[in-house]
Amino acid sequence: MDELIAAILAVADDPAALDRLTDLADSDDVEVVADAEGATDAG
């Protein structure tokens, strides 16, 4: 998924954000977050 690579590169300077993204990938929720309307406003 190129969008995941793009997101990883975009937060490459932030180890905590990198870990959060890789944890997301590990839980197979990448598509859930990427596709979820309003997901970014929910936190």
Binding site: I8, A12, L18, R20, T22, L24, V33, A36, A39, A42
Partner: protein, 281 residues
């Protein structure tokens, strides 16, 4: 302002980080500072030529003039007097070189698994800013405008702690509504239920209660199939010899519910079913 600074400036603005944006804007006028920030950090000591000129002879010992990077705007080599790290040797640490190679491969070939995503992230943590920027340019060249930016934005927001996993609830299964058997099929449905009841512990020897059959039909096919349609089907099956309807006179051992669900006629109370001579199940 260099591309790298501009991107950093825009990201800071997008994040609402005004202080960082101001700092980056101020930095734009200081090429030396920018170059120093972007240079590799594989050296235990690093001096600009002006700084080197101020050092004592003893302090200069072991320093070598080395290209530590390329100026982001002019493209000219950035030269520094540096002292190699204790491990010495290469100007780039082996683990960093490995990380850069791994990340380059993953960005070029794509990330297919969670393990590869983690490997990419771990590799990036070991790389310099300049290397990462180069990787970003390579990735942009590969993907062009094909990325779904809104997806990227959501993932970045999530990673920065501004989003959460919002699962769309799975659609509820359609309600199971009992299907009333047609007139043609009700006898087959009744046969199926009668056969099942004969095999159940509730069967009393060769007899099953019509009340039990009515309950079973109502649960599976609905109230309509358990009403007069059932009575008519039982009468037809009795006439055909498939089953025999059994009437009782003594209702003392029957419950009120069982009696209400039996078939009352002028002949009496039809309470049980037994197998007829034409029974084949």
């Amino acid at each position: 302002m260099t591309d790298v600074l501009l991107i950093a400036y825009l990201i800071a603005l997008a994040d609402g980080d005004i202080d960082t944006a101001r700092y980056l804007a101020d930095l734009a006028g200081d090429d030396a500072a920018v170059a120093a920030l972007l240079e590799d950090e594989d050296y235990s000591e690093s001096y600009t030529p002006d700084e080197h000129a101020l050092l004592s002879e003893a302090a200069r010992a072991g320093l070598t003039l080395t290209q530590v990077g390329t100026h982001p705007r002019t493209g000219k080599p950035i030269m520094r007097w540096v002292r190699q790290a204790a491990s010495g040797g290469s100007t780039v640490k082996p683990d960093r070189a490995t990380a850069r190679g791994t990340a380059t491969r993953l960005v070029r070939d794509g990330v297919e698994t969670a393990a590869e995503a983690k490997l990419l992230a771990d590799s990036l943590k070991q790389m310099s800013t300049a290397d990462i920027d180069g990787l970003k340019r390579e990735f942009q060249a590969r993907t062009g405008g094909r990325l779904k930016q809104e997806k990227v934005d959501r993932l970045v927001a999530y990673a920065r702690g501004r989003g959460s996993v919002v699962r769309t609830p799975a659609p509820a299964p359609p309600p199971v509504t009992p299907t009333t058997p047609t007139a043609a099929s009700i006898e087959a449905a009744v046969m199926g239920e009668v056969s099942g009841l004969f095999k159940s512990p509730r069967s009393t020897g060769d007899l099953i209660k019509i009340a039990d059959l009515r309950d079973a039909m109502a649960a599976k096919y609905g109230r309509e199939a358990a009403g007069q349609n059932l009575d008519a089907a039982l009468n037809r099956m009795d006439l055909a010899g498939v089953i025999r309807l059994v009437e009782i006179d003594d209702t003392s051992r029957a419950t009120t519910d069982e009696i209400s669900k039996a078939i009352r006629s002028s002949a009496g109370l039809t309470f049980y079913i037994r197998k007829g001579t034409q029974w084949t199940n």
